[in-house]
């Protein structure tokens, strides 16, 4: 799937640019994007290190495990392939909590910690597991209780009611998450997406 989307974006982009006469623009856009990608990753190093360090303390102090125990009934249903007392449960929960609080980059750092923990359960290191796909379905539709960036921009644009969209946003992103997780669960059973399939 990723192969086709990637090829499609590039091929459609370049062929369209040939017709619209934007060859120079797409060249510049490609180089700029490559630079941005590296800058984004470099920017992640510090916050990654900070949260990985704090999570080590939280694990040693039993905090992450306590969080995991609290949410055990939900997590076991969502991630049946992950042992209930595995550290991945705790790190996934910390990521979800950080997303709910709207903690952007910190949520990403905790999410990457969760991916490492999930990867330790993965027998085929280059192929995603069912648990990872469910976790990604949750993360690509992340629910935030208060969408602070949007509210800020609305206030800056002179809105009389910058927070009026909290309710509609909550309904939309909850819908998105339910649909994404359900689709992930259903597709995971299909032959085409089986875990042990060789390509």
């Amino acid at each position: 799937m990723m192969n086709w989307i990637w090829l499609g974006l590039l091929a459609v982009g370049i062929v369209t640019a040939a017709f619209t006469g934007r060859m120079e623009e797409i060249t510049k856009a490609a180089f700029d994007a490559a630079k941005t990608a590296v800058e984004l990753c470099i920017g992640l190093i510090g916050i990654m290190a900070l949260w990985l360090g704090l999570m080590k303390i939280a694990e040693a102090g039993g905090l992450v495990q306590a969080l995991a125990r609290l949410m055990r009934p939900v997590m076991r249903r969502l991630f049946p392939d992950v042992p209930a007392d595995h550290p991945a449960m705790g790190s996934m929960l910390s990521n979800i909590a950080a997303n709910l609080l709207g903690l952007g980059n910190s949520a990403t750092a905790l999410g990457l910690k969760a991916m490492q923990d999930l990867q330790s359960l993965n027998p085929k290191k280059e192929t995603a597991t069912n648990a990872m796909v469910i976790f990604m379905a949750i993360n690509t539709t992340a629910i935030t209780i208060i969408p602070a960036t949007v509210i800020g921009l609305r206030a800056a644009a002179g809105s009389a009611q910058p927070t009026s969209i909290i309710g509609t946003t909550l309904i939309s992103c909850t819908t998105a998450m339910i649909v994404a997780v359900t689709t992930a669960k259903l597709l995971g059973r299909m032959r085409r997406f089986r875990e042990v399939r060789d390509e």
Binding site: I14, G53, K56, A128, M136, V150, S172
Partner: protein, 181 residues
């Protein structure tokens, strides 16, 4: 009322991280964890993880940038607009619907531009704001998360995420028509 609510939102974001850090360190210390040593031990992996993501993020961001700069999106919007308008999808919000899963900064740009043009409290303004928060930047999230553990075969992650995006954006348009229309 709405002023105090956004004030509370701001307060929560500024207090959350310091409070979490204090809780982690204090509880760790109470349980006799060597906090400093544990921290440094965990933190040393930060560099490797972040650097591992680079090839994945370069691949996807370059493809998206080429696609956006080519003008292909404008063509898609022109083709989709007449078909979707009778269903209650204003043509003004289509750029947001297409760009939201592809680029977070692009979507923020479309939103700010739209708030300026149509007013933040108009139907379009409310719809754009809701669509912005209805889902995440799918392609970025997938590249970063899978990249960090060097996973190349993502199986059904992308279709599931895109179904979620579609559902979230559709619900955003629908609910805004009901609430603000």
């Amino acid at each position: 009322m709405s002023d105090s609510l956004s004030q509370i939102a701001k307060e929560i974001s500024s207090w959350a991280i310091p409070v979490i850090i204090l809780a982690i360190v204090a509880i760790g210390a109470l349980r006799r964890v060597k906090v400093y040593e544990s921290f440094v031990d965990g933190a040393k992996e930060g560099f490797t993880v972040a650097v591992k993501i680079i090839p994945y993020l370069v691949a996807i961001l370059v493809a998206i940038a080429v696609f956006r700069a080519s003008g292909a999106m404008e063509w898609m919007i022109a083709a989709l607009a007449p078909a979707l308008e009778p269903l209650g999808v204003p043509p003004e919000v289509l750029p947001m619907a297409l760009i939201r899963p592809l680029s977070g900064s692009g979507a923020l740009g479309v939103m700010s531009e739209g708030l300026k043009t149509y007013g933040p409290d108009s139907l379009i303004g409310n719809m754009l704001s809701t669509m912005m928060g209805s889902t995440e930047t799918t392609f970025y999230v997938l590249a970063v998360y899978f990249g960090s553990v060097a996973i190349r075969r993502t199986r059904h992650a992308l279709p599931a995420a895109l179904m979620g995006d579609l559902a979230g954006l559709t619900m955003a348009i629908f609910i805004c028509n009901v609430v603000f229309g």
